[in-house]
């Protein structure tokens, strides 16, 4: 019995064990297992593991888990400016603005990073302080994290793979240092991508800094921030294109 054959049999076992049990095994598998102690043992083990997993029971959720859930949800939804419009256009606008920020800021930030490795811990401290401030102000870590991730992923990983003509206008205007073409980056871009990755955290700080400024100047939550960021982004985009 070759090890490869045993592997194939064992690979099939986990699936069979999960569904209809032994009866669903093909005659070939049954025949192999009748002669193979290793596969018999594997079959038992898989079945027991799966049984144990199915038997795990989650604790009961707290009784008040849904208190105010829908109200909070609707506050968030209504707070999101013209939500569906935002869903369609807002991200693109923020994405484009983010590209501007990246385009203008990346070089400077990257140079700073390259110049002073010793600043890393100071930057980390600053970022931690800023994050704490934002988190405290907003009282909604999930929203903050989601917001930042979205911004950051747009900032750093944006690739124009759609065919929106307005995106083409912007794409043609990109600084030469940007990677914006569809598909995987060329080898020549790798170093640049490395630099971009190195600046990711700094960019995150910039975004956080902007949020803190907004929070300090206005007593608004994320709804306002989304609107404000979209508005700034839109203005920057228009300025850039024209």
């Amino acid at each position: 019995m070759s090890p490869l054959h045993c592997n194939t049999v064992q690979e099939a076992l986990w699936e069979r064990a999960a569904s209809a049990g032994p009866a669903s095994l093909s005659p070939t598998l049954v025949e192999h297992m009748s002669k193979c102690p290793a596969c018999q043992s594997e079959r038992r083990a898989v079945a027991e593991l799966i049984d144990a997993s199915r038997s795990l029971t989650d604790p009961e959720p707290p009784a008040d888990i849904w208190d105010g859930f829908e109200n909070r949800l609707w506050r968030e939804i209504h707070g999101t400016p013209v939500s569906r419009v935002w869903a369609r256009w807002g991200r693109s606008i923020v994405g484009l603005a983010a590209m501007l920020v990246l385009g203008f800021g990346l070089g400077a930030v990257a140079m700073r990073v390259a110049r002073s490795d010793g600043d890393t811990s100071a930057a980390a401290d600053r970022q931690a302080r800023v994050e704490d401030a934002v988190r405290t102000e907003l009282g909604n870590e999930a929203r903050l994290a989601s917001y930042l991730d979205e911004m950051q992923s747009i900032l750093v990983a944006y690739r124009a793979t759609d065919h929106d003509p307005s995106m083409d206008v912007f794409r043609r205007s990109l600084p030469s240092g940007m990677v914006a073409g569809p598909g995987a980056p060329a080898d020549a871009d790798r170093q640049r991508l490395e630099r971009q990755r190195a600046t990711r955290e700094q960019l995150r700080s910039l975004v956080l800094g902007m949020l803190v400024t907004e929070i300090e100047s206005e007593s608004h939550g994320f709804a306002y921030l989304d609107r404000r960021v979209a508005s700034i982004a839109g203005q920057q985009l228009l300025y850039f294109i024209h």
């Binding site: 699936e15 593991l49 989650d58 959720p61 888990i65 999930a142």
Partner: protein
């Protein structure tokens, strides 16, 4: 998972707030269970769920009935949960442990209090081991064996091929067994050969 009535879904897609509310109430318990199984505590699970429903609201217009609606919800819930865990890990360098998980439904051939303890410990260790799986293996395992979705359903939720689900499931089980063997305490010595 049960599907909500098509007319309610259609109204929610059309922007009817009451219908969306109904949709939230219909799915929230199931989705809370899913997010809990990824993030490990109910407080975070509820916050993640809120993000899920915001995303649903923002994108529901674009959902097309090529796949069941619930699988689309599951996909958002899994993605949001995994994103949450990633952010948590990045932020704090650790992931929060899953809350103590009782093990009341284990096979009842073990009856003594000591066996109960052992059983509970198996549950805890298994839960911990699942936590340690790579992202896609964990997602596959949770969906297949905790949520009891089929391969096809799991593939639809994760947006991958059925073959990928099978491979990830296979590797997840293999990895779980390794983890459980490595971290084996004395009380588990009898079960160790099985797991």
């Amino acid at each position: 998972m049960a599907e909500i009535a098509p007319d309610i879904l259609a109204r929610a897609q059309g922007g009817d707030a009451a219908a969306f509310n109904e949709l939230v109430r219909f799915y929230r318990q199931d989705l809370l269970r899913v997010t809990y199984r990824f993030v490990g505590n109910y407080e975070d699970a509820r916050d993640v769920l809120q993000l899920v429903f915001i995303k649903v609201y923002q994108n529901i217009e674009r959902w097309e009935p090529r796949a069941p609606f619930w699988s689309w919800l599951y996909r958002i819930a899994v993605n949001e949960s995994l994103g949450w865990k990633k952010r948590e890990k990045r932020r704090y360098g650790v992931v929060s442990p899953i809350e103590e998980t009782p093990y009341p439904d284990a096979p009842s051939n073990l009856a003594s209090p000591l066996d109960d303890v052992a059983r509970e410990e198996i549950g805890e260790r298994l839960t911990h081991a699942i936590e340690m799986l790579p992202e896609m293996q964990r997602a596959t395992f949770v969906l297949r064996y905790r949520e009891e979705l089929s391969v096809k359903e799991t593939a639809a939720v994760l947006g991958c091929a059925e073959g990928t689900v099978k491979a990830n499931g296979f590797h997840a089980i293999r990895r779980l067994r390794q983890i459980l063997r490595t971290e084996e305490p004395e009380v588990m010595s009898n079960e160790s050969t099985a797991l």
